[in-house]
Amino acid sequence: MAESGRRLAALESAAADAQRSLESRVSSLADRWRGEARHQFEAEHLAPVLDGGRNMRAELGSIAQIAARADAELNSG
């Protein structure tokens, strides 16, 4: 029971790591790709992916909280 909650919390942390890694790799390319084409690529393609990553992390946090409440229900009383 508590194991599921721990797993979900670990997955939230992994999602945060993946997001940081993507953002870091993207910004490290700034000197080697700049200009309007990059801005357009970021707006059209990169932004939805980064938003998706942020949402994934937030949703995993929400799911981990629900799991913790389920655990608390079983262990109270």
């Binding site: 997955l11 993946a18 790709w33 200009g35 309007e36 690529f41 990169l46």
Partner: protein, 275 residues
């Protein structure tokens, strides 16, 4: 072209970063689904176990002599409360499962649609750079490889320095778009002219070559066709300028193309010079 610098390795780096993120994110979403499924299974098992204990206590209470009934009744009350809590945990776990499934759908949408779409765009850019590298590079002065004026194969069209084309007396007003085209379309067209079509034309490619290239790429390129870029610069509506006595050129046609070329750091565009 300093404003529009691009290193192919940067494009490959972007592609690798996006692909790795997609793989990691998909794995996380799958594991989250498994964790919520396991949570639900555990809470349901616990709920069944508590319910069985409650029924056993209720049976015992019914069969118990009066002097034991008080203690058993209290045990039944506690077991019943325990079942209620287990059922609440099952409801929460079901909620977590629903969230987990929705999360997986959303992540898969990004990983299977947005990321491949981004990577296709990067592939096109890499292909354009490859084409550019394969084509003869025009001399810095704008002269052709033969040493003369660039030959675009269209009578009357010559390379005109962008920094000497002036349309301050007739500025672009309102929205940038014209005839349904948006600024992004102009950017793509002007950049494609500079990196793909112009080098190809100077290397001897014709409009038919660009049309064949577009056809080979099929639907994936949509309306962004190199043959259309060829027409935009070398077709019926070329950039047209008039020579002034001070050596600059007033712009009669092509202000949008020239404005974008300036943003991209492009130094010359083909045009017709009057006067």
């Amino acid at each position: 072209m300093s404003e529009a610098a691009v290193d192919p390795e940067a494009l490959r780096g972007m592609r690798a970063a996006l692909s790795e993120w997609a793989q990691t994110a998909t794995g996380i979403a799958v594991q989250a689904g498994a964790a919520t499924d396991a949570l639900l299974a555990e809470t349901e098992r616990e709920s069944r176990s508590r319910l069985a204990r409650l029924k056993a206590l209720e049976d015992a209470l019914r069969a118990a002599p009066p002097k034991e009934q008080g203690q058993l009744a209290e045990a039944v009350r506690q077991a019943s409360a325990s079942v209620d809590r287990a059922r609440a945990a099952v409801r929460l776990a079901s909620e977590a499962v629903a969230h987990g499934r929705a999360l997986r759908r959303r992540v898969e949408q990004v990983a299977n649609q947005a990321v491949p779409s981004a990577n296709r765009d990067l592939e096109h850019k890499l292909q354009a750079l490859s084409d550019y590298a394969a084509a003869p590079v025009p001399a810095p002065s704008g002269a052709s490889a033969a040493g003369g004026v660039p030959n675009f194969g269209v009578s009357g069209l010559v390379d005109v320095p962008v920094d000497r084309m002036d349309f301050e007396d007739n500025p672009i007003r309102g929205n940038f778009g014209r005839g349904g085209a948006e600024v992004g379309d102009y950017r793509w067209a002007v950049e494609t002219w500079e990196t793909v079509v112009r080098p190809g034309v100077l290397a001897g490619q014709s409009r038919a070559d660009f049309a064949a290239r577009d056809a080979a790429r099929g639907r994936e390129i949509g309306l962004r066709r190199t043959a259309g870029v060829y027409d935009m610069f070398l077709g019926d509506d070329p950039i047209a300028v008039s020579r002034r006595s001070d050596g600059s050129f007033s712009v009669n046609s092509g202000r949008h193309r020239i404005a974008i070329a300036r943003q991209l750091g492009i130094t010359h565009l083909p045009g017709k010079i009057h006067g």
